[in-house]
């Protein structure tokens, strides 16, 4: 009885449009999973100071002391995150920005003219030797 009532509703065939929509859903789902997993952690960070840039792996903990535009900064990479631990710049915005680890995030120190940016890559190494 119930079946019959449902069956008697007017309905279209499962059209090409539906398939496309479902395919799109599938694609979006897949893309979002990839995005979620990849976007969670950037692999490297690019530190630009005094006009030159150096890339460091976020999987290798290290401390980087740098002098730029007359100010001294200490940058630390720890457990996949990068942050400025110390700076003698006047506003210390860089220190207060805290820890960044996701692709696209930035720490900018205007007085020292230092930009630290988490970049994706995908070729992140565990260690560097040599």
């Amino acid at each position: 009885m119930v079946d019959k009532a449902i069956d008697s509703r007017p309905k279209k065939r499962f059209s090409r449009g539906d398939l496309l929509a479902l395919a799109a859903v599938a694609a979006i789902l897949a893309a979002s999973v990839v995005f979620l997993l990849n976007g969670r952690k950037g692999n490297t960070c690019l530190i630009t100071a005094n006009g030159s840039s150096v890339s460091y792996s976020l999987s290798e903990n290290r401390r980087i002391d740098l002098v730029s535009n007359g100010y001294s900064l200490t940058v630390e990479i720890k457990d996949g995150q990068v942050f400025v631990t110390e700076s003698d710049c006047p506003d210390r915005v860089c220190v207060r920005t805290g820890k960044i680890s996701k692709t696209g995030q930035e720490i900018i120190c205007v007085p020292a003219q230092v930009v630290i940016e988490v970049t994706g890559g995908g070729s992140g190494e565990d260690f560097i030797i040599g």
């Binding site: 069956d7 065939r13 499962f14 398939l19 479902l22 395919a23 859903v25 599938a26 694609a27 789902l29 897949a30 999973v33 990839v34 997993l37 990849n38 150096v54 890339s55 792996s57 290798e60 903990n61 290290r62 401390r63 720890k78 457990d79 070729s123 992140g124 190494e125 565990d126 260690f127 560097i128 030797i129 040599g130």
Partner: protein, 363 residues
């Protein structure tokens, strides 16, 4: 009617299955199903270099506490300190300082010093002197870490007259010197030895897998749960901030020696720290760096120096003589990368294509 209905149901199921399959594929590709390797990194300054102990949080009998890992890491650092005391030329009150002082005999040397000297002696013989642990007078003279200056030819030949393995006799407890001025320099083998000593200690702990990175030396302990190797970037000699290629390594030791690590420049000439025992001057044969893969830590370290001194051709000859088991990657100053026979693209992958991977020639 009912066949149309079941057809539709089938289609919905098919599409759902497709979506599920896509999601599963993505998840498996991103490695979600493999238990990820979890580590804690501990960093120290030791043996004149930056040291990382990367220890698994996973233990042989369950998860390890941070306190336990810290304890293990501190013990690892302790091992480095004691190795440093025994074999470093820079340790002022260390054993090498005593051995290198104006004496004929050193009695009561530590097991560590004797072990390193014995291994050094063996590798020195096997490499026909390309690895030489008696270069102390030359490394002091060149003072590369201190910025030179370039010594005179006369000073070099004087220093060379006091080098050579014939100046030392290594006994079971005592070390005899036939030349009071002779000095050992274990810098080309010490870190490899220390790396291995740390791995040996780790095998007695609850840590399941670990990596030790010690200034140009990497040692791998245990197996990661995801079954993958470690991705190790090889520094580009021409721009040491960049990586030129990647190793994928599951076990053993990797050591690299390069002319860009320590050097000073004078009159536009670069004088690096890898001294050729035959000339008494920095090796100058067209090689810029050598990476060695071996199952033994001190051998990997010493060979990276020995092969650098030998140069490309002799080094490949040495490899094919099978005197010691190892694999190597050579980087030349004219931009070529040469690998030994068993290194294929699954072990080393060139990423900077300004370099050319040279085809292997087998004889």
């Amino acid at each position: 009617m009912s066949s149309e209905k079941s057809g539709k149901t089938m289609r919905i199921i098919a599409v759902c299955a497709l979506v599920l399959a896509a999601v599963l594929l993505v998840l498996s590709l991103t490695g979600v199903f493999n238990p990820p390797a979890k580590y804690k990194d501990f960093n120290y300054f030791a043996m004149d270099t930056y040291v990382t102990f990367r220890l698994s949080e996973e233990g042989k009998n369950g998860r390890l506490s941070e306190n336990y890992l810290k304890e293990v890491a501190d013990k690892c650092a302790g091992i480095l300190a004691s190795v440093e005391y025994s074999i470093s030329s820079h340790a002022e009150k260390g054993e090498v300082a005593s051995l290198n002082s104006d004496v004929n005999v050193m009695v009561g040397a530590s097991e560590t010093l004797l072990a390193v000297l014995n291994t050094s002696e063996r590798i020195s013989k096997l490499t026909d002197g390309a690895f030489d642990y008696t270069l102390g007078p030359l490394t002091e003279l060149w003072n590369v870490s201190g910025g030179g200056p370039k010594p005179s030819a006369k000073d070099i030949s004087y220093a060379m007259s006091h080098t050579g393995t014939d100046k030392f006799r290594i006994g079971e407890k005592a070390i005899q010197k036939t030349d009071k001025i002779a000095k050992v320099d274990l810098g080309a083998i010490g870190k490899g030895y220390a790396t291995q000593a740390v791995l040996e200690y780790l095998s007695t702990t609850d840590v399941s897998y670990a990596v030790v990175s010690l200034g140009g030396n990497i040692g791998i302990y245990g197996e990661k749960p995801d079954g993958k190797g470690y991705r190790i970037g090889l520094r580009d000699p021409s721009s040491p901030d960049a990586v030129m290629g990647y190793f994928e390594i599951r076990s053993g030791f990797v050591s690299v020696s390069g002319d860009y690590e320590r050097f000073f420049e004078e009159d536009g000439v670069r004088y690096h720290h890898i001294i050729d025992p035959e000339t008494g001057s920095p090796a100058d044969n067209g090689l810029r760096s050598v990476a060695v893969l071996a199952s033994n830590g001190p051998a990997a370290d010493a060979l990276s120096t020995a092969l650098f001194v030998m140069g490309e051709e002799k080094a490949m000859e040495f490899y094919r003589s099978h005197v010691i088991d190892f694999e190597a990657v050579f980087v030349t100053s004219d931009g070529r990368v040469i690998t030994t026979d068993r290194i294929d693209s699954s072990v080393f992958e060139l990423s900077n294509h300004n370099y050319k991977l040279t085809e292997k020639t087998k004889d």
